[in-house]
Structure formats: C-alpha cells, structure tokens
Symmetry: C2
Subunit: 160 residues, 2 copies
C-alpha cells in the first residue's frame, strides 16, 4: 500500500528532524553545563526544578527520567555546591524535599543571561518565528510528548 509507505517515510523524516535539533541543543547544553561547573544531569535538574522552586526527589526522577543513582549523585553535588537545599519530608522519612536556595535562584538567572548559553542561543534561533508558528510548534510538541510519556511508563519500565 503506497500510502502506508508514505506515512513511514513521513515518520522517519520527522524523527530525523527532531534529531537534528536535539543534537544541536545537546551541544549547547553540554557547553553551558561545563562553563558553569555542572554535569549535564545537574543542569537538567536545575532547569526542571526552576519553575517550581521545590520538588520531591522522586518527582524529579519521574520528570527527568534520570536513573536514580545518577539523580542521587547529581543532587548531592548540587547540594554541596549550595544551589539546592535538601531535607527530609516531614512525616515521611524516605522522601527527600529539594528546593532551590537563594544562591541557586540567582545562579540560574545568571546562566540565562550568559552569552553563548543555550538560552541565549536558542532565543536567537526562534526570534524570527511568528506567533502562530510558535503556538503550533508548542501544540504539536505537546501532543507528541504526551504520547511518548504515556508509553513505557506503564509496564516493567521504571527508573532503575
């Protein structure tokens, strides 16, 4: 069936398209992380926690998909560096509550403003998009991410 084949090619093309963006993003994330003495997981953690100011370590794991050993080590480093506070959840001696310190918030702001940081570079990259293009991109990404999120989260898969 020709149209099936058509669809297959479409999907391949789209996957490549995402991959092309993602490998470039990773390049700048890597660079930004190194320039601020962070590992890539640590950078991810900061960016994930930033809009909420505080999060359970468990939730952070679910959001980032980082293996829990990686998460534990990365968080530890961030706490050492003074960017995060870590304390036991009261009424639950297993879970850890993580929160951005004031230093941490300031640090994130600094990163956002650094020339050559992923944030600055990306800002320029999307500068010329129209309102409509932005909205459609967000909408489509949201749909794809939601689908993927739902996959594999169900069965035997968990962050080990």
């Amino acid at each position: 069936m020709g149209s099936e084949n058509q669809k297959l090619m479409r999907s391949t093309q789209l996957l490549r398209s995402f991959w092309n963006v993602q490998k470039n993003l990773m390049r700048f994330v890597q660079k930004t992380a190194v320039e601020n003495d962070l590992s890539v997981p640590q950078y991810s953690i900061l960016m994930t926690i930033a809009p909420h100011k505080e999060m359970l370590q468990k939730s952070l794991g679910e959001k980032t998909f980082l293996p829990k050993s990686t998460l534990s080590q990365a968080v530890d480093g961030l706490v050492q560096a003074g960017w995060l506070n870590r304390q036991q959840v009261e009424g639950n001696r297993r879970e850890m509550q993580l929160s951005l310190s004031e230093k941490g918030e300031a640090f994130i702001k600094t990163i956002h403003l650094q020339e050559g940081s992923i944030h600055q570079v990306f800002r320029s990259a999307v500068e010329s998009l129209t309102e409509k293009q932005c909205d459609e991109l967000l909408e489509t990404h949201q749909r794809i991410a939601a689908y993927l999120e739902a996959q594999g989260a169900g069965q035997g898969e968990g962050t080990k």
Copy 2:
C-alpha cells in the same frame, strides 16, 4: 518593555517544549540501543550513515558532533561487530571511509521493525498529525536547526 519580556517567555517555553520531547526520545533511543547491543553513540552513527550508505569518518564527526575519541571507539565497535566496513580513503592516508556492510543494512532494517523501538513508538506518536502539521513542523525545525548549526561551528569550537 513588555513585549521583550513576552518574547523571552516564549523562547523559554519553546525550549522546554523541545526538552520534553527530547528527553522522551532519548529514553527510547537508549532502550533501542541497549536491546541491540549498541551504545548510544553507535546508534547515532548507524542512523546517520544509513541514508548515505557510506561516509568519511570526518563527516560523521561533523554531523553527529560526537567527540572524536568517542567516535573512534564507537566506530571500532561497529566494525568489530561487522556492521560497518572501514578502509583508508585512496589517495589520502589520513581519512577513513566508512560504509554499511550488507549485514549492517539488514540490521538497521530489523531495528526499524522492532516493536518498542524508537522508530515504532515515534511512528505511533506522529500518526495522527495532519499533512500540514507535519510540513510545518519540518519547516520550523529545519530553520531552527540551521541556525543552531551555524552557531559555534565558526569560532574556537570543533569536536575535540
């Protein structure tokens, strides 16, 4: 200026949106790689070389942004496994010509068909997009990728 602030938020929102897709994609790439006894760099290499059938190792480095030590090791593994052929470029004793072996081509086809592979999962994820949505996504991604590609490739940056 309010509209500047507006733009900033837009950019942040878009970056998050890409990140949400990318972390999910990476999850499946990782999974697909492991299931086929590949490292993530090795998987990237195969997917990059696949449409061309053959490439210079140098070009592969430029396309994937993999550090050259990583590239060298990963390629070596693929050659050992019999998926790639490697030979010196004739008339140039530095560069290496890499090409998919027949076994390698077959291997890639197999991966594409595996249930739960990134390819299958992604296919389902984008199944319901309209023709128009696909085209716009491709177009926008292309623009962003092109911009990012141009950045940093110029000055002191190269794959070490």
